[in-house]
Symmetry: C2
Subunit: 316 residues, 2 copies
């Protein structure tokens, strides 16, 4: 018997995407397999995405406050929309809550979610509440695209690879929390505005949730290209020292929720013009090359950096 742990999270999703693609629908612009789904209802495209935060899997009790968990639940979902140039509009919250959880704590969680959503154009409109052994927060986010919708497919040989913000900070916080049981998970960054701006010039985008190398790998597979990443160019989060360890850690740690954008050289000027409006750093970290869909990380001397793992898989 083949188990989920044999095929892995991404292997199973890729299989499902292929099976569903066999029966396409005119109203489904983009189904399973990208950051968010794109559907058509009326004239406007709608973006749909969902993500879960579960105690014991995605966070441990004591790593975060209820309000920060609410913000996190909003932001990790908003990140998927941002990676397509979308903005969040409507949210549902499907909660599983231990019966002995304090009402005030659950209220703070929802308030954290609602406040962050509201500040970013989205309203909580419904959900579900069920009893469970562990706290689990599933968010369903419906978004719109003010401009172009940018998928993972579309990268071409010669394009540049850019990343917003810095990498490795969330991974470092998790490592410290797991070791010392102190500190807090940092809030994921908000890249909604950056996403809509980058969508004007990007041929492909993805957000870094499971690790840069793995997520750029998804983009490469969707686009049918390979990528070379310049390890020395990676914008490391503060606190990541030791050039070699720091870089491989930042390239694979995940939970950064930064955006990777693939921009053609022909859009360099347009990119330069919108750079200062992004609200965050933007770093060129490599380029798209021909070949089977793999991601190579090279050090300053041009040597390929070997990685033990590319990123996170729930079942492996």
């Amino acid at each position: 018997v083949r188990r989920l742990r044999d095929v892995g999270e991404h292997g199973w999703i890729a299989r499902l995407a292929r099976r569903l693609a066999a029966a396409p629908s005119r109203r489904v612009v983009l189904g399973v397999g990208d950051d968010a789904a794109v559907v058509r209802s009326g004239r406007r495209p709608l973006l749909l995405t969902t993500d879960t935060l579960r105690e014991g899997v995605h966070f441990r009790s004591g790593w975060t406050t209820p309000a920060a968990l609410g913000r996190r639940a909003f932001r990790v979902n908003a990140s998927d929309l941002a990676a397509m140039g979308g903005v969040p509009r409507f949210a549902l919250l499907a909660l599983e809550v231990p019966p002995n959880m304090a009402v005030a704590a659950l209220d703070r969680l929802v308030d954290g979610f609602v406040a962050d959503a509201g500040a970013n154009g989205a309203a909580l409109v419904g959900g579900n509440l069920a009893a469970g052994r562990r706290l689990s927060v599933t968010v369903l986010l419906v978004g719109e695209a003010p401009g172009r919708v940018v998928t993972r497919a579309g990268a071409r040989v010669g394009d540049g690879l850019y990343v917003t913000g810095t990498l490795g900070g969330a991974g470092l916080a998790v490592r410290r929390l797991a070791a010392r049981r102190s500190g807090r998970l940092p809030d994921p960054p908000l890249r909604i505005r950056a996403g809509t701006l980058l969508a004007r010039v990007a041929r492909a985008m993805i957000d870094v949730s499971d690790g840069l190398v793995q997520d750029v790998g998804h983009l490469c597979r969707a686009s049918g290209v390979a990528a070379e990443i310049d390890a020395s160019a990676l914008p490391l989060a503060a606190g990541l020292r030791g050039p070699r360890t720091g870089v491989t850690f930042a390239a694979t740690a995940g939970e950064d929720y930064e955006l990777v954008a693939v921009v053609p050289a022909s859009s360099a000027r347009a990119l330069a013009r919108l750079r200062r409006r992004l609200g965050c750093r933007l770093t060129r970290i490599g380029g798209v090359v021909a070949g089977p869909p793999t991601v190579r990380l090279r050090d300053a001397a041009g040597r390929i950096v070997t990685l033990e793992r590319a990123g996170h898989d729930h079942f492996r």
Copy 2:
């Protein structure tokens, strides 16, 4: 400290609905507190709903097959849309799966969901897959309303109370399964077509998920009315014997996923015309009366039937 078990599922949701209503949005036609949310994107109203099926809470392993669980996940969510006159269009599946679950079983679950959704006009367009100790299936359903959107509010004194199909069958199956550990959970009925037809004449609707008396109570609170239910008129599922036990059981057992529609006397003719097109039985079970929002069940002699509980609450 007040715990969730102190305020209960419905108490907490009612509080949240009041808090969110303090900051209304022009794009949110109907937020937390009805069967589904109604939002506006472009010109058409969109209906959004979510519901979770969790092993150990909503079903036990062995009570159902993977394919039937997939169908159930679709149908309990479609029921919420049907209760507003909506039809499902797009679905996301947020899954939590034990790593040792067989891939073939998960495939059958998703296939059961996709087949049932497809046969009813909806496409699976995305989702999330995470590892967990127990199998949990959360569905987000996005729907459209071909005609009027019917909420829980709107019932008026003098209106008739109608229910589709029969009551108590699912509760009976659960009772037998829990006692004998044999049999299967029946598939919930599909009332999507019935919902869109009833929406033409109904002033208010709700689906029976937690128990008839409790769910009609929600409708009464939303409408600011009371309801009288004629116990002898309840359409009992096959196998429910013993007039008194059978009736109180059917009135409170839940999981029927039938629709309750409130229809004014002035629409009696229109109702008669569309009755045969519903695809299911429709029974008048009582009427809307004045008074504080309570539900009274009366036996054939007019005596009030006392109920130990009105229905299901996850935290009580």
